[in-house]
């Protein structure tokens, strides 16, 4: 029977690819002959936990989720460290950098994303580093051992976690950010200012707004020059200016792409023999860079390929948490509000607690939590469910325990 099983090939051995395999094995372990191609060495790890590895709160081994043995145990052919470089859709063949060709009956693209690199000189200097892979983290840890000064470019989630990790590794860290507020994609101005104050008290030097003009150095990076002429000495520069979906392969194969590879509600690309999931995919004009939607996509895609014709993906409400020890930040949805929105705000400044909920027509559409994120997941669920919150509105901001208690009696 195995000889007649359809061949399913997964391109990309990141979190989306691994979760997809898990889901598929759970639903239909025998249905496909499986093969996985990955650009990184060895098995699969939890990319989200790179930050704690960098900060030393976790070890690299702690975050390995799927060692090569796992693939072997489930009869999956794993081709690590050998990225696919071409897809021949008419022949249903993939070709790798190492020259390997594999036939597929169905192909799942899970190529993820790559760091966005700003158009500046000096990116190729030694000591200039992205923050994306376990290898990147290894290089940063290594640099921290022998060098003192680090500059992180980018004040988003990734940049802040990188800066935090490097401080924990004993470096003097300066973070520069293009916007006047940190994490502007996730935080409103008030929460951002609380965050900024908190980071500064932890020894992070922040320069914002500031734009990088060039990275200076000869044999190794030596300084960062800003457009205003300032030069910041640096032995290590971490570029964390954002990510872009990795669509090169798909584009070359002629699949419909915009920012990401366009998929429909069953996660099929413009070629019905090819699905795409995770950060490389663009669903309903939306590309996601967070883990929850990626898992949801993996589940739907696996379900469909396991034979569930009804499985649909309808998009995700995303929420963000900053993984900087001692700083609790949560953000989700339309946290800045807008037309037709109403906000509920709670402030406990001495305790550094700030909560803002954004509602539209009695439905939760956004939230920023700072200092106490206990109820973040619950708010995210309320946003996803879109339920009418009128009856608990006066208690909503106090969290689930209050809001779901019986109605207040006078």
């Amino acid at each position: 029977m195995s000889a007649h099983r359809p061949r399913l090939v997964v391109v990309g051995n990141g979190m989306a690819g691994a979760r997809f395999l898990e889901e598929l094995l759970r639903l239909a372990p025998e249905r496909y002959e499986l093969a996985v191609f990955g650009a990184e060495a060895a098995g699969n790890y939890n990319r989200i936990l790179l930050s704690p590895v960098l900060s030393g709160e976790k070890q690299a081994a702690d975050i390995i989720t799927h060692p090569p043995a796992w693939y072997a145990r489930h009869g999956i052919a794993l081709y690590a460290d050998d990225p696919v470089i071409a897809i021949d859709r008419s022949a249903r063949l993939v070709t790798t950098l190492g020259g390997r060709s594999e036939h597929y009956d169905h192909l799942v693209l899970a190529t993820g994303s790559r760091p966005f690199l700003p158009p500046i000189q000096g990116l190729d200097l030694p000591g200039v580093q992205c923050f994306r892979t376990l290898a990147d983290v290894g290089a940063m840890i290594e640099a921290a051992r022998s060098h003192r000064r680090a500059v992180v470019i980018g004040g988003g989630l990734l940049g802040l976690e990188a800066a935090h990790g490097l401080i924990r590794r004993g470096m003097d860290v300066t973070l520069i950010h293009l916007c006047p507020v940190l994490m502007e994609r996730q935080l409103d101005a008030h929460a951002a200012s609380l965050l900024q104050r908190s980071l500064e008290t932890r020894g992070l030097r922040l320069i914002l707004p500031a734009q990088t003009q060039a990275l200076l150095g000869d044999t190794r990076v030596r300084a960062v020059r800003l457009t205003d002429g300032r030069e910041l000495p640096a032995d290590l520069v971490v570029i964390a200016a954002g990510i872009v979906p990795e669509t090169q392969l798909a584009r070359a194969a002629g699949l419909a792409c915009e920012r990401g590879v366009i998929v429909d509600d069953v996660l099929l690309t413009s070629d019905p023999a090819i699905s795409a999931i995770g950060e490389c995919a663009q669903h309903r004009k939306q590309c996601y860079g967070l883990v929850a939607p990626l898992y949801q996509q993996a589940r739907v895609c696996a379900a469909r390929l396991a034979g569930d014709a009804g499985a649909r993906y309808a998009g995700s409400v995303v929420s963000t948490k900053l993984k900087v020890t001692g700083i609790e930040v949560f953000s989700a949805g339309e946290f800045n509000g807008g037309e037709g929105c109403q906000t509920i705000v709670l402030r406990d400044p001495r305790r550094g607690i700030y909560k803002k909920l954004v509602l539209r027509e009695q439905r939760l559409v956004g939230a920023v939590l700072y200092g106490d994120i206990r109820d973040g997941a619950w708010y995210a669920r309320l946003m996803q469910s879109g339920e009418n919150l009128q009856r608990m509105r006066s208690r909503l901001v106090f969290g689930q325990r209050y809001a779901e208690a019986k109605a207040e009696a006078a």
Partner: protein, 909 residues
């Protein structure tokens, strides 16, 4: 120390224990015949009301030239003496007045009455008892020739039928109610009939409730008189031997209420219930008709009393065990005040102003330079005379007429224009004290020494067990020292209450008899006229008359009444409508009364957190249909207005009140609420005989009082923003103050929104630089809450919402003020205004994605989740980002180890 309760006319005996000058325990006195150890909640809460905060502790003088200043007693009394002397000299004795109180002790009352009637030579001394039971007094005098209450409490236990008329005994005389309830438990055949337009708490024990239309009591009892006569229940022998007036009374009764159907229709009750009541009364030889304010507080109060007494006289059910008409007195010493003659239409010791022989008797006994020649002004007229400028000096003792009198705004205006207002008080700030030129600090309950007489004519001692605070002095001392300064030295040279009591007792027995030169009064304390100081101090509760030692008796047992012919009078009384009828503009009847746990104007009971729990706020009770009709809703605010004034009250919707009626409690005032001084709404019409106002019947209307938000404030200390006059500046349109255990609560409401809630709230709470300010706002919904925490303790908090039902319950956040230190989760609980199981119970968060705590996880492990996958399936933890999976694994290991070690321990022998 054994003493007597300062509240209602039941006059319960108490045992008070004090330590370090503070009352530590109050218990019922098991030896006292009024209560035999029982106690109501007001009595039990007495220790909470004795604190010195808010007390007036030294004399204060307010003059135009010097403003307000503290003065010594000499200066204060000189000032008052000069004022009285000047007015007496310039304008005559009727230009001065005392307005005194049923809260005074008999000795205080006696001295004030003596000064006014024997030394000033006028009778302008009236009392707040005028508002309470003067109709009963007038009815007694008309029927019996003397103000004698012919029933004892133990008669309640002997009765076959107790009719409670216009009396919410359960709330207003709780210990008597307990006695009735106990009697009924013991003898279920005891029948209780409650006659009251409202379905009050008293109705709970009633076999029959007759919710008659307000003011139809005379019709009801005329009907009864007629029915009893028609059914041959009259005691003809008794009538012939001991009464007059039967024919006239019966004729009027027949004519006005001769038909059951007519009476039933007029009273608004069913014919069947009416017949049941009449038949019950007819067959109950031992019948007591107990009545209080629902009868007395009426422009026909005296007629109502006589209509009741008529029925007892017709059936001879008076002066016999278990039978009689029984006036339940409102105040602790209303009866004592009547005994000394402390009313404008009485002289002293049950002697009459309008009889020259009586006047001569008293003047001789007092050896006074003058004696009042004619009745003085009764309370309502008295303040009218003040308003008209005829009274130049007014001394108010131990009462708060700006709150309690009808048309109280006019009373306030009257005081404001009176040249000299003296107020002797225990409380520093009352609505009345604010208008005083001289404030004299009086001794309060627990500090004073003397006697009171309760509703059953029982004299009991009030004994001091606390030191006199500050410069406070007993009222008798204040009056006597003033009298001495005015030149009446020897007649007021009292050095204690004992000397005064002996004089009072001697006067009661003075020429008391049927001989030549004598005037008979049942009121005779001859047995007490020679008490030693020690005997006075140890005096056991004793009922009068007690003309000689061992000679106590029921005054009417022998059928002898105090009229000259020795006969009681049946009085012909016509039913009349209340003075002011409802009309299109004021279609509802406003009724007023007490609530269970407050007393009068709350100057003392308002201090007790426990007493605030029963009814925290002033309210207006309305029938559900009327609430719909007039557009007011439960929990919201309504404006109740009459032709005389208006109040804004919380709406309580209840079917216990009939259609077209409103009920409001009388207690709140300018110190405790913005708009709840009910006296201002009450019409000033009075009974032509007793002068008692019609508190139970004022035409009124009700309308919603629109506000944009409701709220409440909790504060550890009183807030300056709620001082009178400051409130408008605070942007509030309505407020009420409620005493809590560890904080004060202010219920508030307002219109519009300040541009900056935060700044507004901080100003209201008086937030300084110290402490922390937490807040939550939902501007679109109009929800705002804030908390002020200092050193981890709540200092204040505030909650606002556009609808009252969106506010949290009050008890929980108020209880947080008791804490020395707020736990972390309680900070938010204070803002939220409600408890949770407490986040601490879930333990520190392990799975941040799904907010799953350590304790929750350990609980699941104990219940059998033995892998990360099992935990994920059950609690979702670790199923999103997976960051917590290592911790989950560690917890599984820990729990397993604990489990193994516990097994090992169990295995150890």
């Amino acid at each position: 120390m054994r003493t007597t309760c300062p509240y209602c006319g039941v006059g319960c005996g108490l045992v008070a224990e004090a330590r370090d000058g503070q009352a530590v325990r109050i218990a019922g006195d098991p030896e006292h015949p009024a209560n035999r150890g029982r106690l109501c909640v007001k009595g039990a809460a007495l220790p909470e009301t004795l604190g010195l905060e808010g007390r007036l502790l030294h004399p204060i003088l307010r003059t135009r030239t010097h403003g307000e200043r503290r003065v010594g007693w000499d200066e204060a009394l000189d000032f008052v003496a000069k004022g009285f002397l000047h007015a007496l000299a310039e304008h005559g004795p009727e230009s001065v007045a005392f307005y005194v109180s049923g809260q005074l002790l008999t000795e205080d009352y006696y001295v004030a009455n003596k000064l006014m009637k024997g030394y000033f030579g006028a009778a302008n001394i009236d009392t707040n008892s005028r508002l309470c039971m003067s109709s009963a007094v007038a009815g007694h005098v008309r029927a019996f020739g003397e103000d004698v209450v012919p029933v004892a409490y133990e008669d309640l236990e002997r009765a076959e039928l107790i009719v409670l008329v216009g009396s919410n005994t359960a709330w207003c005389h709780p210990v008597l109610f307990q006695r009735i309830a106990a009697a009924k438990r013991e003898r279920p055949e005891l029948q209780v009939v409650v006659i009251d337009p409202r379905r009050t708490a008293t109705v709970e024990i009633a076999d029959l409730h007759l919710p008659i239309r307000p003011g139809t009591d005379v019709m009801l009892f005329n009907g009864l008189l007629s029915w009893l006569h028609q059914h041959g229940v009259a005691d003809t022998a008794f009538l012939a031997a001991h009464t007059t007036g039967l024919e006239a009374a019966l004729a009027v009764a027949e004519q006005s209420a001769g038909s059951l159907a007519h009476v039933a229709r007029h009273c608004g009750i069913g014919e069947e219930s009416l017949r049941r009541f009449y038949a019950l009364f007819a067959r109950s030889e031992k019948a007591i008709t107990a009545f209080s304010m629902g009868v007395n507080q009426s422009t026909r109060g005296t007629d109502k009393v006589n209509a009741i007494i008529n029925c007892h006289l017709l059936t001879g059910r008076i002066g016999k065990p278990g039978a009689g008409p029984f006036s339940l007195t409102g105040q602790p010493n209303a009866m004592g005040g009547r005994e000394v003659g402390g009313l404008a239409n009485q002289l002293a010791a049950h002697l009459r102003l309008d009889d020259p022989a009586h006047r001569a008797l008293v003047q001789t006994f007092w050896n006074s330079p003058r004696i009042a020649q004619r009745p003085g002004l009764k309370a309502v007229e008295l303040f009218e005379a003040v308003h008209a400028g005829r009274i130049k000096v007014l001394w108010v003792m131990a009462t708060n007429p700006v709150v309690s009198l009808p048309d109280a705004d006019r009373v306030r205006a009257a005081l404001a224009r009176c040249p000299l207002v003296v107020v002797s008080e225990v409380v520093r700030d009352t609505d009345t004290a604010r208008l005083a030129h001289v404030l004299l600090p009086a001794a309060g309950w627990g500090e004073r020494d003397g006697t009171v007489t309760n509703s059953e004519r029982r004299i009991s001692r009030q004994r001091p067990f606390l030191p006199l605070p500050g410069e406070a002095r007993p009222d008798w001392w204040i009056v006597s020292r003033l009298a001495q300064r005015m030149g009446f030295d020897s007649a007021f040279a009292y050095s204690n209450a004992y000397e005064i009591f002996l004089e009072h007792a001697r006067l009661s027995a003075y020429r008391n008899g049927h001989g030549p030169g004598e005037v008979f009064r049942h009121f005779n304390l001859g047995a007490l006229a020679a008490l030693t100081r020690d005997q006075y101090d140890r005096l056991e509760p004793i009922r009068w008359p007690c003309p000689a030692v061992g000679q106590g008796h029921e005054p009417f047992a022998a059928g002898h009444y105090a009229h000259a012919d020795g006969r009681a009078r049946l009085v012909a009384v016509w039913p009349h409508a209340p003075a002011h009828a409802t009309d299109d503009d004021y279609p509802l009847v406003l009724n007023s009364g007490r609530v269970r746990d407050q007393w009068h104007t709350m100057t003392r009971t308002g201090k007790s957190p426990r007493l605030a729990q029963h009814t925290a706020e002033p309210y207006v009770e309305i029938h559900p249909h009327d609430a719909l009709l007039w557009g007011v809703r439960a929990g919201g605010l309504a404006r109740v207005s009459t032709r005389w004034g208006a109040a804004v009250l919380r709406v309580a919707v209840s079917a216990d009140i009939a259609r077209r009626q409103l009920f409001v409690p009388i207690h709140w005032n300018g110190e405790t609420a913005s708009d709840a001084r009910i006296g201002a709404l009450v019409n000033p019409a009075v009974d032509p005989i007793s002068g008692e106002p019609e508190f139970k019947h004022t035409p009124a209307r009700i309308e919603p009082f629109f506000v944009d938000w409701y709220g409440f404030v909790l504060a550890r200390r009183p807030l300056a923003a709620f001082a009178p006059r400051a409130v408008a500046d605070a942007g509030l349109v309505w407020w009420t103050k409620v005493q809590g255990e560890d904080c004060l609560r202010y219920e508030i409401a307002g219109r519009g929104a300040p541009p900056d809630w935060s700044g507004w709230a901080q100003a209201l709470l008086g937030v300084g630089l110290e402490g922390e300010w937490l807040e939550v706002s939902d501007a679109a919904e109009g929800l705002y809450r804030a908390a002020w925490i200092e050193d981890a303790r709540p200092r204040g908090s505030l909650y606002l919402a556009p609808r009252p039902e969106d506010l949290p319950p009050r008890a929980f956040p108020a209880a947080l003020f008791a804490q020395q230190r707020l736990a972390e989760h309680e900070r938010i609980a204070l803002l939220a205004g409600r408890p949770t199981e407490g986040p601490a119970d879930a333990g520190p968060i392990v799975c941040a994605c799904f907010g799953v705590g350590r304790k929750t996880i350990l609980g699941a492990v104990r219940e059998g989740c033995n892998s990360v996958e099992a935990l994920g399936a059950r609690l979702q933890c670790g199923t999103n980002c997976g960051s917590c999976i290592p911790e989950l694994k560690a917890l599984l290991v820990t729990q397993r180890a604990l489990h193994l070690s516990s097994l090992a321990t169990e295995g150890t022998p």
